[in-house]
């Protein structure tokens, strides 16, 4: 028998009072133990979906089940299973991090003694213990975000939802946050992540859903998605760009400036061909890199394709 999915979203819909249709009947499944990326441009419906899962937003159709528990019908039981790290700071900045964590546990009915032990544990793990008894308003932006992760861990959730937790956080803190969340995931907690740093999603997540305009435009494993990338763009730093460029098969090479070349390599064409052609033209490559993150290339293409398809359909209908 297969295990109960961590999350089943079934034909979920949300139309706000002003008529905006934020979710147009989306469905997806997240397996237990997964590290799942939920991506989409601004206004795509990600935060609405997370709002419904955490009961901050009332759905207007469909349902979501967290480990088999319906958010609509058994809200309180479902909420016991999740931890939420929201996009915006949402704690009382005049309270102390230790109190914020202990109170959060209290709202879940966790006895104070246990809550105090957990608060110490998670504040230490997120390197906030030395700030535990200072007012939260004195914390830096990165510290406030780590505090929200510590707070979300107080009920030791089976499903942790992180809504753009690293927005505006420097690279060092971001990495330490991912180290912590990866550890939590390795220990068995299912993690759903939304982020605009696609490199992060590519590195951390095993499965992915892309939302745009309230519909799912892609829902697959990260490996399968990246395998769809049929063209990859590389940037070469070279000693000197000659007047005439080589034209190896399946590779479009173009000059950016006198020391930079850009190559669009179609899938199935080896880079060796390009290097051989460059050597034949006495072009020495000093270094090379991907122009953009691979997932980013795909993401932009999927979202654009979806919009172009919709525009074409509307034109046809008209």
């Amino acid at each position: 028998m297969s295990p109960t999915p961590a999350l089943v979203v079934d034909d979920l819909r949300k139309t706000y009072g002003n008529g905006v249709e934020a979710l147009k009947g989306i469905s997806l499944t997240v397996q237990p133990g997964d590290f799942f990326a939920l991506l989409g441009p601004n206004g795509a419906g990600k935060s609405t979906l997370i709002g419904i899962l955490s009961s901050l937003v009332n759905s207007t159709g469909g349902d979501a089940r967290i480990f088999g528990v319906s958010v609509n019908k058994q809200r309180n039981e479902a909420m016991k299973l999740i931890g939420l790290v929201p996009q915006e700071i949402n704690f009382n900045v005049f309270e102390k991090p230790f109190d914020i964590c202990v109170n959060e546990a209290g709202f879940y009915g966790i006895p104070r003694r246990v809550a105090m032990e957990r608060a110490e544990k998670y504040l230490k793990e997120l390197r906030l213990w030395d700030k535990a008894h200072m007012q939260a308003r004195t914390l830096s932006g990165g510290m406030k975000r780590r505090l929200m992760i510590a707070r979300a861990m107080m009920n030791e959730p089976k499903l942790l939802i992180l809504d753009e937790p690293t927005a505006g956080v420097d690279i060092e803190i971001r990495r330490s946050m991912w180290q912590f969340v990866s550890g939590i995931n390795a220990a068995g907690t299912t993690v759903i992540l939304t982020t605009h740093y696609l490199e992060e999603a590519e590195q951390l997540c095993r499965n992915i859903a892309i939302i745009d305009h309230g519909t799912i435009v892609e829902n697959t494993s990260m490996k399968q998605l990246l395998a769809k990338l049929d063209v990859e763009t590389f940037v070469f730093d070279v000693t000197e760009v000659p007047g005439e460029l080589p034209a190896p098969p399946g590779i479009a090479l173009r000059r950016i400036d006198e020391r930079t070349l850009e190559a669009e390599v179609s899938r199935g064409h080896a880079l060796n061909t390009l290097f051989t052609a460059l050597s034949a033209h006495d072009i020495t490559v000093a270094s090379m890199r991907n122009k953009t993150n691979r997932l980013e290339e795909l993401f932009v293409r999927l979202v654009e394709n979806g919009r172009n398809g919709k525009a074409a359909a509307q034109e046809k209908a008209a």
Binding site: L56, M79, K80, Y108
Partner: protein, 257 residues
């Protein structure tokens, strides 16, 4: 959640409210002490000495229960409206909204916190009053019950106000334009028997009149209205406002999208 878990959640909110009240004591406890001292000096000592007796008590003794109840009402209301609206404004209320805590636990926690502030302020004002006059509590149980119920009524009203409020001005409007006039016209400073018709009958629709008089009966043993009626009115308000508050929480009015 189990009964034990609900008790923990309830205790968490009450404890947090008490910590807040004591942390900002200069905003929560000091102002009513100063204001009421001025009332006692001006109305009780200076003007009261020229008014003479009312229902067999000195004017100072007569207004003490009213002023204590006025402090309890305004502070209970102010506590819950500012605390809950503050949590809404800073979005810290989401900590509770995403938790498995039932709505009634959240409501009861905030109400108990507000009642606690009302009781603390009431005790402070009563102690100050004892510097000006002597009092003997006639009916201790009625005194305590009227304090708790009066504070609960206005805590619930403050909660409803905070749920609907969209900006800080919205929580200041009701105390200024509703609460203060009703309090002053609710028999704090005078016996309604002094009023002619139709003012006397009109005063009887003011709920604060019943709270002030229930408390006055508890302390002095005299009242302008029947004590039983006063308790029925207070209980009806508690039941009605609780139902409204729970309905708003269930719908998520002003809290959930």
């Amino acid at each position: 959640m189990s009964a034990a878990e609900n008790a923990v959640a309830l205790g968490t909110i009450v404890r947090r409210e008490l910590v807040r009240i004591l942390r900002i004591w200069s905003q929560t406890l000091l102002p009513p002490a100063i204001t009421m001292t001025l009332y006692f000096v001006i109305f009780g000592k200076l003007i009261g000495s020229r008014i003479g007796q009312m229902h067999g008590f000195t004017y100072m003794q007569y207004i003490v229960p009213g002023l204590v109840m006025m402090s309890i009402i305004t502070n209970s209301y102010g506590n819950i409206s500012s605390s809950f609206f503050g949590a809404k404004f800073s979005r810290a209320v989401e900590e509770m909204l995403v938790s498995p805590m039932p709505n009634w636990v959240m409501l009861l926690g905030y109400v108990l916190g507000a009642v606690a502030r009302g009781v603390i302020v009431g005790a402070v004002v009563l102690l100050i009053a004892l510097l000006f006059t002597s009092l003997h509590v006639a009916h201790p149980l009625i005194t305590i019950a009227s304090v708790v119920l009066g504070a609960a009524v206005f805590s619930l009203a403050g909660f409803v106000n905070a749920v609907f409020a969209k900006k800080f001005d919205d929580i200041a409007l009701v105390p200024t334009f509703v609460l203060t006039p009703l309090t002053y016209l609710g028999g704090v400073f005078y016996s309604v028997d002094l009023l002619g018709e139709p003012w006397r009958s009109l005063t009887l629709i003011n709920p604060i009149l019943y709270m002030v008089n229930a408390f006055r009966f508890g302390v002095l043993g005299v009242s302008d209205v029947g004590v039983g009626t006063a308790f029925v009115v207070m209980l009806a308000f508690v039941a009605g406002l609780s139902a409204v508050a729970l309905h708003l929480l269930k719908r998520g009015t002003g809290l959930r999208s």
